[in-house]
Amino acid sequence: MEEQNPESLAGAESHGAEAGHGGAEAAHGGHSPLSVFEIERVIPMHIGGIDVSITNSAIYMIIAVLAITLFLTVGMRGRALVPGRWQSMAELSYEFIAKMVRDNAGSEGRKYFPFIFTLFMFILFANLIGMIPFSFTVTSHIIVTFALAAVVFLGVTAIGFIRHGASFLKLFVPSGVPIFLLPLMVVIELLSYLTRPVSLSLRLFANMMAGHTMLEVFGGFVIALGILGGWAPLAFIVALTGLEVGIAMLQAYVFTILTCIYLNDALHPHH
């Protein structure tokens, strides 16, 4: 995916030009509250028939990666024995996720700690960067959250089968259930297992989208009511922004802890 050599870049440039215009027009089309979720192609690119244009979403993903890396490397630059403020924050993030993995997935979950840490930091920073006015929220797109949830779901399922083979299927057979109820229970367990990626991705997506839509709607009210009446929705926006920052952190936490719990199911299916 990272084969962006110069000639393919040049080839993609002309190919994606028209599509880029289309996206830009759509973005400037209306003033609907949903226009914050509009995606624009900043640098249109096509490689092998796949649209790999750098969109505003991609830019904010890159910003998130840079921000996380800066936060964690600049903070840890001193490697001080007694941490300063930034180092404390970096260490706190590390220990927070390490504890979460240890508590929920046990010591075998340690192997997957880097992935879970990356997942948490990515979602957290995407959510928080999205709270900056005029920025874009990567996680307000269902395709992004669904991709993350699908990676978690497929990964966890693969880990379960690799570690336990066919006996991983016992996860769907709850113990201590009367035999005539068993078929029903297996179906229910299977369904609940299969809906995990959907609920996981929808929860994050819906929370992000709802919050930003609310902010947009009330922002519209501020303009509509003008200098006399606009104060009330403005005050509401201020309060809502605080709430949204909380939700941004909470949803990152929820996504991560559910990942840990699913991982635990894969590591210890008999419980």
Partner: protein, 163 residues
């Protein structure tokens, strides 16, 4: 809803994959080992400091015990010295008292002897004087010369009757 526009699924997925993979490798290879290194280093440092503190405390305890022992020894020694001195003083006092008592007794006996001697001498003197006086009185009053032996016998009987 812009989120459901499939036109932008591909670029988002591609860039999500790129950025997430890069972030994963940055975290797994550089950032997390560094943080865990610092945390482990701190853990070790704290552990070694604790051990050092433990050792120093043990040492201090040892020194304190030695000091206490030295103090107790010194006290015991002083006590012994004191007792010895007291015993010596008591012995000396007893010896002196004894010597004094002996001297006293000696002097007393000597004095008594002297008194007895003096008394005897006085008594003998008294007899001579009494005999002389009795002879002189007899001569003066009766004008008779009583033989000294007779007077002496009378004086002796008189002294014998009185004493």
């Amino acid at each position: 809803m812009p989120q459901l526009n499939p036109e932008f699924f591909a670029p988002q997925l591609v860039w999500l994959a790129i950025t997430f993979t890069i972030l994963y490798f940055l975290m797994a290879r550089i950032v997390l080992p560094r943080i865990s290194g610092v945390l482990e280093n701190r853990e070790q440092r704290i552990q070694s400091d604790l051990e050092k503190a433990e050792k120093l405390k043990a040492e201090a305890d040892e020194v304190l015990a030695a000091y206490n022992k030295a103090q107790a020894d010194a006290r015991a020694q002083a006590q012994a010295e004191l007792q010895k001195a007291a015993a010596a003083i008591a012995a000396e006092a007893a010896k002196r008292e004894e010597a004094f008592a002996a001297t006293l007794a000696e002097r007393g006996a000597e004095a008594e002897q002297r008194i007895a001697a003096t008394k005897t001498a006085a008594m003998a003197e008294l007899r001579t004087i009494a005999t002389d006086v009795a002879g002189a009185v007899m001569t003066k009053l009766t004008d008779t010369k009583v033989p000294p032996a007779q007077i002496e016998a009378a004086v002796d009987s008189a002294i014998g009757a009185r004493s």
